[in-house]
Amino acid sequence: MIDEKGFQRSNTALVRSTGFEVLLASVDREEVDVLSGSAALAWELLAEPTTSSALAAGLAEYYSIPVSAIDADVRRLLEDLQSRGWIQEDAGRD
């Protein structure tokens, strides 16, 4: 289960947070990815290693909505960020 794992930002990402958006680049990819809205907020919450469920809880609290309403979206976001190399599994987590 992906939501049992902890995630953290990849230290190989080139990052700029602009207040409204997060821009991500790396030497391995030509494109610059732009995270905005809830994805940008998720990136901020990923400053500390966190699990999918903890991230969903943080976002649900911020947007005042039930966790169940965003749980699946958060999992998909984490999978997407991981596949693009922007986050990695938390090595320090058992």
Partner: protein
């Protein structure tokens, strides 16, 4: 633009450049009028202040309409994407330099943004600046060509840049620009520096998990002063902010290095300009380096004037360089290169060929003389 609006835009830009610096907190949010916005946006982009402007909006030190905020965010996004592309290229270059056994020190943009500023998004940059050892100049040029760079600007005579020059501009096939430095500034101050000694004053910073070399705390401050004081007349706002951001932890050590590199007058000029233009309070220890102009050695004072007075537009830097070059043979070689440059250089700089280009070249010093 009406004079009053232009003055207001300049005041606003100065305030934004000083955002969050000590003693600069505005009593109430600054509101931007519609008639000021276009001029301000143009100035913010030109002076690379979009990140500081957005930061000011975020903490409500400045208020923008939703439309104005959106256009500012668009311009800042473009600036940040450009900076990220440059950093990606820098990482590729760092690997290539390592593999070739060549040293490089990252100057200005990325080093300043990641190592000195609270947030790298506050410090956009338009190109890469890399310091290499003079003895490696040729090998680095070959390596850059292999990495997809080319240089369009010829030198006055073969070996001129390596002996008397400061930078060699390269353009990557992607369109991104790299300034290769062998010293920190063009003209007498760059010639007085021991270029190899710069490599004894380095530290490191981390970019995307890779360790890169930068100037150490004293040298990065001196370079910020050099860039702010000598780069443009009058100094630009972001380089002045760099001076404040790169304040050294030990001002007396920075002063000793400034003495050795004959930069006391430059440092004083930069600190006074930063303090007055950004109306910020500098640390008390900085006052020892903010001496009045009359106390500096005449040679340093005259050299500084070659950059900061109207002499700059009348060949002041070239003349001051001539004084700084040691040895009659070297002085003669410098003069010969400036007065009788190669045909390719003439065509590039003067846009003409042969005698026409040479006449255009010679007309410049005659005009300088005529204005004296």
């Amino acid at each position: 633009m009406p004079v009053a609006t232009r003055d207001r835009v300049q005041t606003l830009s100065r305030g934004i450049a000083a955002f969050s610096l000590p003693g600069t907190v505005p009593a109430e949010p600054v509101r931007i009028a519609d008639e000021e916005w276009q001029g301000l946006l143009i100035d913010l982009v030109a002076q690379r202040l979009t990140g500081l402007a957005l930061a000011a909006v975020e903490v409500e030190a400045m208020q923008l309409s939703p439309t104005h905020l959106s256009s500012l965010a668009d311009r800042h996004r473009a600036a940040m994407i450009h900076a990220l592309r440059l950093e990606r290229l820098l990482l590729v270059l760092a690997d290539a330099f390592r593999a070739a056994g060549l040293e490089m020190v990252v100057l200005k943009g990325p080093a300043m943004a990641h190592d000195r500023y609270a947030d790298p998004a506050w410090r956009p940059f338009g190109d890469l600046d890399i310091l290499v050892r003079t003895r490696d100049w040729g090998r680095v040029g070959t390596l850059l060509a292999r990495c997809g760079f080319s240089s369009r600007s010829p030198e006055p005579r073969p070996g001129f840049r390596e002996r008397f020059g400061h930078t060699w501009v390269h353009t990557h096939q992607s369109g991104l620009e790299l300034d290769l430095h062998r010293t920190l500034v063009a003209g007498p101050f760059g010639l007085w520096m021991d270029a190899d000694e710069l490599f004894d004053h380095t530290s490191s910073f981390t970019l995307a998990g890779k360790e890169l070399r930068r100037l150490d705390d004293q040298a990065i401050f001196l370079h910020a002063c050099v860039h702010a004081a000598l780069g443009h007349r009058p100094p630009l706002l972001l380089p002045l902010r760099d001076v404040v951001e790169s304040a050294p932890p030990d001002w007396s050590q920075a002063g000793e290095l400034a003495d050795r590199w004959r930069l006391r007058a430059v440092v004083s000029h930069a600190l006074i300009s930063a303090s007055t233009t950004l109306t910020t309070e500098l640390p008390p220890d900085a006052s020892d380096l903010m001496e009045v102009a009359g106390t500096f050695p005449k040679r340093e004072r005259r050299a500084l004037e070659a950059y900061t007075t109207e002499r700059r537009g009348r060949g002041g830097k070239a003349l001051a360089s001539l004084w700084a070059i040691r040895g009659l043979d070297a002085k003669a070689a410098y003069l010969r290169a400036l007065l009788f440059p190669d045909r390719e250089f003439l065509a590039f700089r003067e846009g003409g060929r042969g005698a026409v280009a040479l006449r255009a070249r010679w007309a410049k010093p005659l005009k300088w003389l005529a204005r004296h």
